[in-house]
Symmetry: C2
Subunit: 339 residues, 2 copies
Amino acid sequence: MNEETERRLTIDDVAKVAGVSRSTVSLVLRNSGLVSERTNIAVREAAERLGYVYNRTAAIRARHSYLVGIIIPDLTNPFYSELTAGVDQILNDSGWISLLGNSWESPASQEKILRRMHEQNVDAVIVCPVTAADHTAAENLTRSGLRVLQVLRRTEADTSYLGIDYSHGVALAVDHLFELGHTDIVLLGGDRAYSAATERYEGYMSSMRSHGLEPKHVPCALRRSAAADKVRELFDKQNRPTALICFNDVVAIGAMATLERMGLKVGRDVSVVGFDNVADAEFVQPPLTTVDTHARQLGERAAMLVLDSIQNGSSIAPTTIMETSLVVRDSTGRAPSRA
Amino acid sequence: MNEETERRLTIDDVAKVAGVSRSTVSLVLRNSGLVSERTNIAVREAAERLGYVYNRTAAIRARHSYLVGIIIPDLTNPFYSELTAGVDQILNDSGWISLLGNSWESPASQEKILRRMHEQNVDAVIVCPVTAADHTAAENLTRSGLRVLQVLRRTEADTSYLGIDYSHGVALAVDHLFELGHTDIVLLGGDRAYSAATERYEGYMSSMRSHGLEPKHVPCALRRSAAADKVRELFDKQNRPTALICFNDVVAIGAMATLERMGLKVGRDVSVVGFDNVADAEFVQPPLTTVDTHARQLGERAAMLVLDSIQNGSSIAPTTIMETSLVVRDSTGRAPSRA
DNA sequence: CTGAAAGCGCTTACAG
DNA sequence: CTGAAAGCGCTTACAG
């Protein structure tokens, strides 16, 4: 940390050593083809020798900041960390870098992050909006004049959207359980307050009806412990379901743990389907049948959409929907025969 | 996205509307106490009304960039996402924002990220260095003239360091198993190529010896699947251990899944101890006994150390070590009696 | 192909 | 307390 003593080198220092003008150094550093091979080399050598580091912050007239924001509700959820890793990967490959913001589902926090990213002059922001029904939060996404891509959750904000076909995903789960002979299939989790939840709900309802089955939705917070509590309630009663479709894998893992503790064998006494196909899904006991939402690829796609738009100065494709796929493991099995 | 048409507002626009000079607006926006209450309000109102957003990028003469980099080897590992969430939380609370970089354990990638963060003029970078024994990578950490805090892994680079007392953590695990009557205790995972691994190894060795037990280390890559493979090998033979201390929870979860598949009951036939106390540890079957490394608090502490140093213009405390604690759950039990 | 000059949107002494 | 001027380290027309 010798910033205090030695000031940071500038483009002028490089110019002096290379024996060219400041403009020329600037052109070389930005890989402009305009400069002769000889000058090019001389400048690069000088920069290297001096240990010069480009100061992008000072390039306020440049077209891009090479910063893209990514705002998610909970980095601690493995689905979101996969998604974020996907975004980061693609951004890095193209020379951009990610500004991270974890909103913890708080509209106020999302606001603060969004504004700070704007202040940092990001080229775009990829945001998975908070679920709280906060109109201001949604509006601010558009009002800002920023390039915004909403992911996973569609709010009223009129921005581009990259989503998942949740409805179809849930239908895959219902079909799978129906084929195994299940009829009492509960949807566990979600509160229908935001698109990712309502879409699942609608997919569940229509798919159940098309099979002539009675739907039953049990809302539940998206934490392992909340799921554990709900399941205890649900299975304490007489009319136990034979199958659970969980809002996501985190809920499913919480549910399974409780079922096993209650002495119910998952995959035999009760079938459980998760959603997301998180890394652990394969390694819990029993391995979890789940709807894969391809988090990593989703993140990668988000970054690509945004970079495309930045580099071409075009707007982001208004709507992109990605498909899910069912991964069958041991947490689902034939419905137990009614005694 | 009307940047194309409407240019971004500047401090001068605000000044004109508020009827003051550019300097005054600048002072107000930075909460300088020098400005009168009346002027303060007038300027803020004007800014608000116009929808002005401060352009921090242009403040190249300002003392801070309000950017702090965080470089980790794998965001997908729940330990690191907790850590990152902790860092992000504290930074946000203080008005800073995190630049994320996922190195995937690649020295080249770490280099690239580090340089890009430097170019973005970060106030500091918190880095969990790649494990590959790459001297250049380590040296570059110091050479850069950046404010750097190494976390978890200590390289040759002469920077400040925030770590965990791994050695003591492993000793806690060995003691616990010893008290349960175990004598054949294997350390699974780690390759001793970097500090976080050697420290665990040394803690294991000395603790085993102090109990008069024969140590046995089985190296293993830190992925669930690699752990699964190693365990299959290890338990295919005659001389099976009765207990496993795993490098981290991810390894433990992979190991447990395999053991159960082989028909061994974890907590009865074999005891398994993890490391980290990841969120899932409580919810796998059986719940995992593990050494809690307090990832979230570690991240928070890292951010605090760095912010302190930025705000006071001082250097970061050279060494900080945090303690672990043992969380006993059901994956460990009394050693099976020898037939 | 290269350089001198003006400019980006802020901050920082310096006067008053 | 406030403003005019110079400055930060780059980029961008514009000449030649």
